[in-house]
């Protein structure tokens, strides 16, 4: 019974072929994983090769501090108008998405019943799933005329005749066909689910003992939500904000279709005028160059890669920052 070298079923020792085969499989699988690093390397190589060639022709200082972007006509490669366009869209879409996303997250995690949650969560996911071309189309064709119906309006903030302060009227002019406001609105709607789902995960991760403790002390639900749960989940909420902003910065089609292609610097002090006028973001400029010149060479074509590298660096930094915030300030329970 104990000394049966070869039973009919086969020896317990696995054949050399099988061992080698499985080791090969393991290596193939590891290769798949290493491929992902190759992708990052590929992106960096693809972008920096051309970008460096570009920056050897156009000085980086002129690129990063120039105030006029007109690559073909005036040979100006100043990126500041594009950055200002991106900033305008990002700031105004964040103004929409961040409060709404956080409110939705608080509602879903603290107040909503199960039925409500099972309806609202998928509904919010659909917001993120709609293709961005369709958002751009809706912004161009429906949002702009809709909002234009209420404009122009002006609000006199500081009336004439006040002692020190000069008179100031906040004027919202009528929207042009291409304007930053419609683009910001749809981008804001688009990134709400990013904020709400990540924040909700963070809020749900706060242990119930904290809430119960607060209730035990006599807090209302409002107190618990705003003074206990939200501060505990701050790291996750901030991480979600940063990720959503990074997404808004990288958004392309909606801003290309709705915002037009006129890079310009922002207006002060009548800030609202920026919303009513056309502008151009970094991503829209890349699409414009690709549409015109995508096989060629020369500074304009390579400018596209330089813009891409800038964009990649910005979004990468923000994503790393979000991850770092989430790890560092996460409360340990």
């Amino acid at each position: 019974m104990s000394n049966e070298p070869e039973s009919r079923v086969g020896s317990l020792q696995r054949s050399g072929f099988v061992v080698r085969k499985e080791r090969l499989y393991g290596r193939l699988i590891a290769a798949c994983a290493v491929l992902t690093i190759l992708i990052t390397v590929g992106i960096i190589l693809a972008l920096s090769g051309r970008a460096l060639s570009f920056w050897s022709q156009i000085s980086p200082i002129a690129f990063f501090t120039g105030t006029s972007w007109s690559p073909v006509i005036a040979n100006d490669y100043g990126v500041l108008p594009l950055v200002s366009g991106t900033l305008i869209v990002t700031v105004f879409s964040a103004l929409i998405a961040l409060p709404i996303g956080l409110a939705a997250a608080i509602y879903l995690s603290e107040y909503a019943s199960d039925t409500a949650r099972s309806i609202l969560k998928p509904a919010l996911e659909i917001l993120a799933g709609v293709p961005t071309v369709i958002y751009g189309y809706m912004a161009l064709v429906y949002v702009t005329p809709l909002i234009d119906g209420f404009l122009p309006f002006s609000v006199q903030l500081i009336p004439a005749g006040m002692p020190i302060l000069p008179e100031f009227t906040l004027v919202m002019p009528s929207l042009g066909t291409f304007n930053a406001l419609s683009a910001s609105i749809v981008v804001g709607i688009m990134i709400i689910p990013m904020v709400s789902s990540i924040s909700e995960d963070a809020l749900s991760a706060v242990p119930d003992s904290l809430r119960q403790g607060a209730y035990g002390l006599g807090s209302t639900k409002f107190d618990v939500s705003t003074k206990v749960v939200v501060p505990s989940a701050t790291s996750g909420i901030v991480a979600s904000y940063v990720l959503a902003l990074s997404r808004a910065i990288g958004e392309t089609m909606a801003v290309t279709m709705a915002m037009g292609m006129s890079p310009q610097l922002p207006y002060f002090p009548n800030v609202l005028r920026n919303l009513a006028e056309s502008g151009q973001t970094i991503t829209a400029a890349m699409v414009q160059i690709a549409g015109a010149d995508s096989y060629g060479s020369g500074p304009t074509y390579e400018a596209m890669f330089a813009l891409g590298l800038t964009l990649f660096a910005i979004t990468l930094t923000m994503n790393i920052l979000a991850e770092a915030v989430r790890r560092r300030f996460r409360e340990e329970y």
Partner: protein, 540 residues
């Protein structure tokens, strides 16, 4: 003890507390309002775009009444009846999946094969399936999985290689055969084999053989009948094999195994029958239709920049499907491989552990890179380095595949994590190796989660336009792509290109209709993913 009026009363009546309560209620109302703002605005925009796509205003009220009577009424009655009877609901769900899934599958198969040339597809599929078939047959006779396992992918590759080599000489003589024979080989034969195998598993070999023969015979009969009537035989053959046969089989099985639920099987037919009946009534009495552009013309013709009523997006739909299909083939294996490595093989400590951490950080960063940057990567990789043409299917599918790869990896990782460790330990306890455990235990359990994540990623990719613009996919074509290296077409790109056209029948007519088609495609894929998750998924 001071026993005044009960302290609770005072507490309850104090103004501070009531103010607090009011504040709390206002807060909750505010939260609900904020949550709904985004959803409601999107619904409003959807209403605008649907209004332009469907144009319900142009239809007379009688039209609505007709369809209410033939479609909405019976469906509602059926739903109410089915609500209380779970058996009926299961049968209904099965029938639904079979009917609509079958229809979709047959239409998509026909469209894609037609675009890629049935002769070429037939050639490649036959050559790619013969060697594995031989390997499988050999496997039945011996008991040696160790060799036949890896032999199958290798044999498929060998088969494809052979097909490439022999393409020239064989396609000439092959071209003599009628087109429907190609479709027969591509759809009826596998359908027959599948039905035969399923029946044989249940009833024995002879019954299986008979069933397979019935399917094949039915396909031949359909082909002969259509030739006799004078209709092209290809589409009826495909419809028979991919729609009628599976539907028939599933319904017959459900009929047998779920006796109380038999009524549920009629569900999809109520809907289809109601629609057809309504259309017949509307046609007969000449009732005013809505002035919609969502007509068969939109789905079957190619674009016409001058006359909106002639414009269609058929090449773009087929092109999008081909791109998405090829992208899935590229991204799925690599994604699963990477996720399996990170979850199963990677050590936790030491150099391997650090590599794994770096890989994970890298993947989560890649998920956040804007899609334009992927477009630039695709441009540099496929156009410059590899030298493919501009805007071909391979470049488009490759670029978008790279885009969704991080998402596939992350969702597969989560699916693998949700497989309980006990299963793995049990398998190791039985003496299985890591690969065997993966293959037999872990992966089968994780597949639904992976599929869900992948299908959601594909649904997102079908709407991505920016990378396609950067790699210069053409926007005006009249035919779907005819192979891997021909120009790609994509539905999202068509919406982008046509958005500038301000003529009312385009801007508020055809283009919203095309956008609605894109939305429907996306919703279908999302719905499939959710159904898979709900039906086969594992509670996390």
């Amino acid at each position: 003890m001071a026993t005044d009026s009960a302290p609770g009363d005072e507490l309850g009546r104090s103004r501070a507390l009531r103010f607090q309560q009011l504040k709390g209620q206002l807060f909750e109302v505010g939260l609900v309002a904020a949550t709904l703002v985004g959803i409601v605005s999107l619904l409003v925009l959807f209403a605008y775009i649907s209004n332009d796509a469907f144009q319900p205003g142009a239809a007379s009220p009688v039209w609505f009444l007709t369809y209410f009577g033939t479609l909405v009424g019976p469906t509602a009655a059926f739903t109410l009846y089915a609500r209380r009877r779970p058996a009926v609901r299961t049968a209904n769900a099965t029938a639904f999946a079979a009917v609509f899934g079958g229809l979709l599958l047959s239409v998509v198969t026909y469209a894609v094969v037609d675009a890629l040339s049935p002769y070429d597809v037939f050639l490649y599929v036959v050559f790619a399936s013969l060697p594995p078939g031989l390997v499988l047959a050999y496997d039945r006779t011996t008991d040696d999985w160790a060799y036949t396992g890896p032999a199958i992918p290798v044999s498929i590759l060998v088969g494809i290689g052979l097909a490439v080599l022999l393409d020239g000489p064989i396609s000439g003589p092959l071209g003599i055969a009628a087109e429907w024979i190609m479709y027969f080989g591509l759809t009826t034969v596998p359908a027959g084999l599948l039905i035969g195998w399923l029946t044989a598993a249940r009833r024995g070999r002879r019954a299986g053989g008979v069933a397979g023969g019935v399917v094949a015979g039915g396909g031949l009969a359909v082909a002969v009948a259509s030739i006799a009537v004078g209709v092209a035989a290809s589409l009826p053959v495909v419809l028979f094999s991919a729609f009628v046969v599976p539907t028939g089989y599933v319904i017959a099985r459900s009929f047998r195994t779920n006796p109380e639920g038999r009524v549920g099987l009629a569900g999809p037919f109520v809907i289809i029958g109601g629609t057809l009946l309504g259309a017949a009534v509307v046609g007969q009495f000449g009732i005013d239709n809505p002035d919609t552009f969502l007509t068969p013309t939109l789905l079957l013709e190619s674009w016409d920049g001058l006359t909106a009523s002639n414009a269609g997006v058929y090449p773009q739909i087929v092109g999008s499907i081909i791109i998405v299909g090829f992208m899935a083939v590229l991204a799925f294996p690599v994604g699963i491989g990477a996720a399996v490595y990170l979850e199963e093989y990677a050590p936790d400590t030491g150099w391997g552990g650090r590599l794994a951490t770096v890989l994970e950080v890298n993947i989560s960063n890649l998920a956040g890179v804007p899609s334009v940057v992927y477009g630039l990567l695709g441009l540099a990789l496929f156009r410059r380095t590899l030298g493919f043409g501009t805007g071909v299917v391979v470049s488009a599918a490759g670029t978008l595949g790279l885009l969704i790869l991080p998402i596939v990896i992350v969702s597969t990782q989560e699916a693998l994590r949700s497989v309980p460790d006990d299963l793995r330990q049990g398998s190791y306890g039985m003496g299985a190796s890591r690969w065997q455990t993966l293959r037999e235990v872990v992966l089968p359990e994780a597949i639904p989660g992976t599929l869900t994540g992948t299908i959601l990623a594909l649904a997102r990719a079908i709407g991505e336009t920016a990378p396609l613009v950067i790699i210069a996919v053409a926007t005006t074509t009249y035919s779907p792509p005819s192979g891997l290296f021909s120009s790609a077409t994509a539905l999202s790109l068509q919406v982008f290109a046509a958005a500038a056209n301000a003529k009312p029948e385009f801007r508020h007519g055809v283009v919203p209709a095309a956008a609605v088609v894109l939305l429907v495609l996306m919703l279908l894929m999302n719905a499939t993913a959710i159904v898979i998750r709900n039906k086969y998924g594992r509670e996390n």
